[in-house]
Structures are given as C-alpha cells and as structure tokens.
Symmetry: C2
Subunit: 204 residues, 2 copies
C-alpha cells in the first residue's frame, strides 16, 4: 500500500498520526506530491483522486481511496485495535460528532484562513481575504468552546483518545502558520494540547 | 428517542431520509426548533448541542448526539440492515470518501452560498457575498464532476445506494433555493437524480 501525500499538509499529518497510533506506519510507503507546484492537478493524479486533494491511499490492486478520514476508516476497519473511531454505537457516534465538530469549526476554517489570506493557491482559486479573516475568528471561537468542553473531559470525545483529538491537534498546530494561537487563559485546552502533543504519534 | 430539527433544513432531511431507508422513522419523535428566530441559540438548546446546530438526537437517558452524520452512524451501528455506510473495509472507506466529497464540495458550498448571499443568519454571522458567490460556482463545478463520475457508476459509491447519495441529493435539492441547478447536459447526474428522487425516502 502507498500513501501519496504532501508532508507538511495538515490532512497528511492526520493520517500519519492515525497510523502511528495503530503501529501501522511501517506497513505503508509514502510518496510526496508537490501541491504548491500543482503536481496534484495532473491527469494522472486526478485518476487516483478526482478532487485532486491529498492524501490518497493506493491499494496494491490499484484502487484508490481519497479523503483523510476515509483512509483512516479503512485502517480502522482492518485493524480495530486500538480503537480510534469507537466500538459501541454511542462511542462511534460521539467520536464522529467531535471529529466533525473539530473538522468543520476548526480544521476547515483554519484551512480557509490560510488559503484566503495567504493566496497560497491563488493560481487555482479566488482568495476572498474578508472571508479568510472571518474564518480565523471562527477557529478561535471554537478553540474557546473546546476549552470549555475540556474542563470536564479528558479528550474531545470523553475518556479515550480518538481521531477527533488527531483532527483538533493537527488543526491547532497548523493554525500557527496564520498566527492563530491558543489564548493563555484557555488552561483546559492547553492541558489537552500538552497531553496530546506528548504522544509519540504527534511527532511523525 | 427524540430528534430536534428544523424541518426545512437540508441536514434535517438527510437524517430523516436515512431513517426512512432503514424503516426507523416511526421509532423516533420529532420536535421543531425555529432556527431563523434563533431558538437554537438558547442556553437550554446549547446544553444539548454546544455548536447550536440542528438536528440533534436526544436519547431516552438524556445524552445528546449532534451532527447529522454522527446521528446516522448511531442508527447504522444499532441497525446495520440495510447498510448505508458499508460493510467491508473497502466499502466503508469508499462510502466515507464519497460522503465527504459530497459534503465538502457540494453540501457545504451550497450552505455557504445560501448563508453568504441571502443574509439569512446575518444577525449572528458576517456574510461575505463574494465568498458566497464563489461557493455557488464551486457547487456547480462539483455537480459537473459528479456527472462525469456517474457516467460509469450507478450511485456515488458504486452499485449500492448509500449515505453519500443522501447527502448529494439533499444538497442538490436545497441548491435550488439559491438558483443553482443541474445543467441540461449533465445527463448522468440527472439520471441519478431521477432514480434517487423516486425512492420513497426522498419524500419524507
């Protein structure tokens, strides 16, 4: 199996961290694609992932799976232990809820803030700086909400580390690129960030 | 079990359609919340769903699950037949991939086009019309991509109807509110739209 990724992209880090938590990193080879140069826009890459996004998982039979969470889902189904997406119906739903909250209110706005305020992909999209700035404020609002939530919860989805924590960590760390940082008074969020950053998987 | 929703919201329709496909609609009661009046912003509602979004599933024990796909995940885990989120690892991943593509490139941009061009929620967010218009174009681009994909695929994720089709249908139908419509030449997308719209679940 091969993962085609851009090493510095936050979605690529999510998948690597997920695999590291399952001790599966060495079962996959990694290949880099230069997204700033637009190598992912080639017809060959588009055959692997019609949306041209990274990362993509290419199975030995040639089938491809795009979307970071879909790639994680594949590995979770094949290797259920340790569980990062939940076992009971309630755990599965609770993790999906927090994973989606972290994705829609944090990972996505941070990415939009990056794309719309830096013009990184301005050769292939129309940056709207006013929207990028609003997204930055949205990401900070959600960090404050997470701080409130983490006052009474060890991890995002309760007492077990999950894919929701991976999404939130990768988003918060990438947010530094656009100068969005956790406020000093968010002690619960900072406690969680310290705990999660100390996991060996956070360094891969 | 109770679902608190806003009947006309596309995310609420997704959940109802999912339940109808599983013949579970009559196992749940529905309660309406007036989102335009901001009833979902009350402290009571926020206790049920900290992001204040609809719908939310309230279990008999009082626990709440927000996020439409997380609610669907809960019912899928409890009632695996008929499967709408896949059985084998590859099916699960493929459905998750298409569900996410439909969500990020269609449902979300349609929603952003609605919010940023109509000012529907301008009392609680800053509309950026230029961004809303770009989102409308993004949604149309993805409809064209879906047309290409559906030339060789019966449903979004292959030969079986899935949650990905529900997301895409609800997004495309809601898009009419902001005058985004399928082009006449998208015959494959229109074939699929006709097939999926004819399912009894599409009417709930």
């Amino acid at each position: 199996m091969k993962i085609i990724e851009a090493k510095t992209a936050p979605n690529a880090r999510r998948v690597r961290m997920f695999l590291a938590e399952k001790n599966l990193l060495n079962t996959v080879t990694f290949e880099q694609v230069d997204i700033q140069a637009g190598a992912n826009l080639s017809p060959e890459y588009r055959k692997k992932n019609i949306t041209t996004k990274v990362p993509v998982l290419e199975l030995d039979g040639g089938e491809c799976i795009g979307e970071s969470v879909a790639i994680c889902r594949y590995f979770e189904a094949l290797n259920p232990e340790p569980s990062l997406m939940g076992k009971t119906p309630f755990e599965q739903a609770s993790i999906e809820m927090w994973q989606r909250r972290a994705e829609f209110h944090l990972m996505l706005p941070v990415g939009m803030c990056f794309q719309h305020t830096t013009g990184y992909f301005k050769d292939r999209m129309l940056p709207v700086p006013a929207y990028g700035e609003e997204c930055g404020r949205e990401a900070l609002r959600f960090m404050g909400l997470l701080d409130e939530h983490l006052a009474t919860s060890q991890f995002l989805a309760g007492e077990s580390f999950s894919i929701a924590d991976i999404t939130a960590l990768c988003a918060i760390d990438f947010a530094r690129v656009v100068k969005l940082r956790m406020a000093d008074e968010w002690v619960h969020l900072k406690r969680w960030h310290g705990d999660v950053s100390a996991r060996p998987s956070a360094a891969v």
